[in-house]
């Protein structure tokens, strides 16, 4: 019985191809956009999650501010308010796993005839640990290199590619501000950071070497930033308090004075970025769902027209023995078939669109099986929901009235 009904529904769909196609188009666009939008949204979420995982976990970044006395800010020239000794003091506190003073800036790298402008990071070995940054070859510099201001460098993937092409950078000598540096290690790729900057376009050198040979700091030992890692997410609030208290004490700030540094929670920034993309993907999905709804209404509309148009046919079927539920099933099946066929085409187009965007842009697109199943279930549901009213209308027709209908 059901197979006969399916055949009939298929036949009816074929009888009015143009109309069936246009009705399906509503579903195609609806499902296609839901799938595409979910893919884009999930892609964005995935990209942010990836980026966050490259940042390192439970990080704080201390940024030196300006010294201010009773509201009067001293301008530049006094130099950064943080220094290496602050970093060492912080590392003595509880619940802190890594502390690294950082002095970074943009410099020109020169290798033979090639040159490349990149971010030079002067820091201590803890920096790599705090950021969970591994090496793909060579080895990292140690505390002794920092103490002796060795001219060694670790190079990021992007900088290496631009300076060395396919050559192995290890053991090569590059120049930064006329100072030769031997490359002793290559850094694993991390990709973009949350602001969209390429984290691999970098060179990492000992802090002391950076300050003496590259940046030429007026106050030796002072740094603009210190990054520190708490032992766990739970420990972060306590760490923030103790670090702030320690620095205020070390900087001899009175009760009424503002901090002369900023402490920024990178995990919080990451959380808000993740939340933003989550909301964005929800919004995209919601907007796309509206088109699915419109597609469903399109199906209902056409099915209503079809019931009116085929009133006589319904009368004939009833006269030869169709029960109400047979007529109901017939029209419901037709609506479901249209919506499922539209859904399948929409799925293909949506996935195709996602793959196309993947291929021609560097946007990350993630198609999850869950999203596909949800779209499919929703489409079938839409078919049943919007097909039910017209089908019931057809089934409730009076055989005599229906037969008389011209």
């Amino acid at each position: 019985m059901l197979s006969a009904m399916l055949g009939e529904a298929w036949h009816a769909m074929g009888c009015n191809r143009m109309r069936t196609a246009l009705t399906m188009l509503g579903m195609v666009i609806g499902v296609g956009s839901v799938v595409l939008m979910l893919a884009i949204g999930q892609g964005a979420q995935y990209a942010v999650a990836q980026t966050i995982s490259t940042m390192g976990s439970n990080l704080y970044i201390l940024i030196s501010g300006s010294t201010s006395t009773s509201g009067v800010r001293t301008g530049s020239g006094f130099g950064p308010t943080l220094n290496v000794a602050d970093a060492e003091a912080i590392s003595e506190l509880d619940d802190i796993t890594h502390v690294a003073p950082v002095h970074q800036g943009t410099q020109q790298l020169v290798y033979g005839a090639k040159n490349w402008s990149t971010t030079v990071v002067g820091t201590t070995p803890s920096y790599l640990d705090a950021r969970a940054w591994t090496l793909t070859s060579g080895y990292a510099f140690g505390e002794s290199d920092v103490r002796s201001a060795s001219r060694v460098a670790l190079i990021g993937k992007t900088a290496a590619e631009n300076l060395f092409d396919r050559e192995d950078p290890i053991g090569k000598t590059i120049r930064i501000r006329q100072t030769p540096f031997v490359i002793i290690g290559t850094l694993a790729a991390k990709g973009q950071n949350l602001d969209g900057r390429d984290q691999d376009d970098t060179v990492i050198i000992p802090l002391t070497t950076a300050q003496r040979k590259v940046f030429g700091v007026p106050f030796a030992g002072s740094v603009r930033t210190i990054i520190l890692q708490a032992s766990s997410a739970e420990a972060m609030p306590a760490v923030e308090k103790s670090v702030t208290a320690l620095l205020r004490q070390r900087h001899r700030l009175r009760e009424d004075m503002d901090n002369d540094f900023y402490i920024r929670n990178l995990a919080a920034a990451a959380d808000s970025a993740a939340e933003t993309t989550r909301v964005m993907s929800l919004l995209l999905g919601a907007i796309a769902s509206v088109s699915l709804l419109v597609g469903g209404i399109g199906i209902m509309n056409i099915m209503l027209v079809s019931v009116t148009e085929r009133t006589r046919e319904i009368g004939i079927r009833m006269a030869i023995g169709a029960r109400q539920k047979d007529i109901l099933t017939q029209f419901l099946l037709e609506a479901i078939m249209i919506s499922i066929a539209g859904c399948l085409i929409g799925l293909l187009l949506g996935i195709g669109g996602a793959l196309l965007i993947n291929a021609i842009t560097d946007m990350v697109i993630v198609i999850s099986g869950g999203a596909v199943i949800v779209a499919f279930a929703v489409a079938a549901g839409v078919g049943v929901f919007f097909g039910f009213y017209p089908a019931r209308k057809a089934a409730a027709l009076d055989p005599i009235e229906a037969l008389r209908y011209q």
Partner: protein, 236 residues
């Protein structure tokens, strides 16, 4: 042996119109035995189609009782009436009422869809019925491609497909010329000879003469009920 296929008692039907309740059938008593061939006649508006629709279980009476093969169907629920229309009764319309987008074999076999018969069996039975009404070889044609007489044959084949006891026909020759009408009537006579009870409505005396009993309607009542002796029947 005589078995009443149809027995109606005080059967009445009123239609709700803008002017109020309009009685189209005003209490009809009639019994039709198995194997009879009855012609229903009467002027336009006398209630013939109203009566046939009640006999065909397409409509339900306002008053009275209708026993179809000894079962009172006057107050049966719609789905049970649908089963009777599917199995017990074959209805033939004036306007043929074939589905225009279906092949003839599918049209003929359509009632079997609602009897739960599989596709292959339906096709086979459909072709068999087409052959029975003299249309073998037309299985794949569409209704619009054949003549009115042929369409009515297809409609009769469809009415026959579930081997009903009763064939009801409301002016089956109303849309046909006299020659084609005779062919259709010959088919009905043949079916009647095979034992099927036939009730048909007609305006024409020579069509009615094919039947063995003539029932005349006027104004919602039966006004005469006469049997034609076999000797008086027109030769075909």
């Amino acid at each position: 042996m005589s078995e009443a296929v149809i027995r109606v008692a005080g059967l009445g039907k009123s239609y709700l119109t803008a002017a109020g309740l309009f009685p189209a059938l005003k209490g009809v008593d009639l019994t039709i035995q198995r194997g009879e061939f009855v012609a229903i006649m009467g002027p336009s508006g006398s209630g013939k189609s109203t009566f046939m629709n009640l006999l065909g279980c397409l409509d339900t009476p306002s008053t009275g009782d209708y026993f179809l093969v000894e079962r009172n169907v006057a107050h049966m629920p719609g789905d049970e009436l649908a089963i009777l229309r599917n199995r017990t009764i074959g209805f033939v319309f004036q306007g043929f009422n074939l589905l225009p987008r279906m092949t003839l074999e599918d049209n003929v076999a359509l009632p079997l869809v609602y009897s739960g018969i599989g596709r292959e069996a339906r096709r086979g039975k459909g072709r068999q019925m087409l052959a029975r009404v003299g249309l073998d070889g037309y299985a794949q044609s569409l209704p619009a491609r054949i003549s009115g007489g042929q369409q009515q044959r297809v409609a009769i084949a469809r009415a026959l497909i579930n081997s009903p006891r009763l064939i009801l026909a409301d002016e089956p020759t109303g849309n046909l010329d006299s020659h084609t009408s005779e062919e259709i009537m010959a088919l009905f006579e043949q079916l009647n000879a095979e034992g099927i009870t036939i009730v048909l409505v007609t305006h024409e005396a020579d069509i009615a003469a094919h039947a063995r009993r003539q029932v005349r309607f006027l104004d919602g009542f039966i006004v005469s009920d006469t049997a034609t002796p076999v000797s008086e029947r027109q030769p075909c």
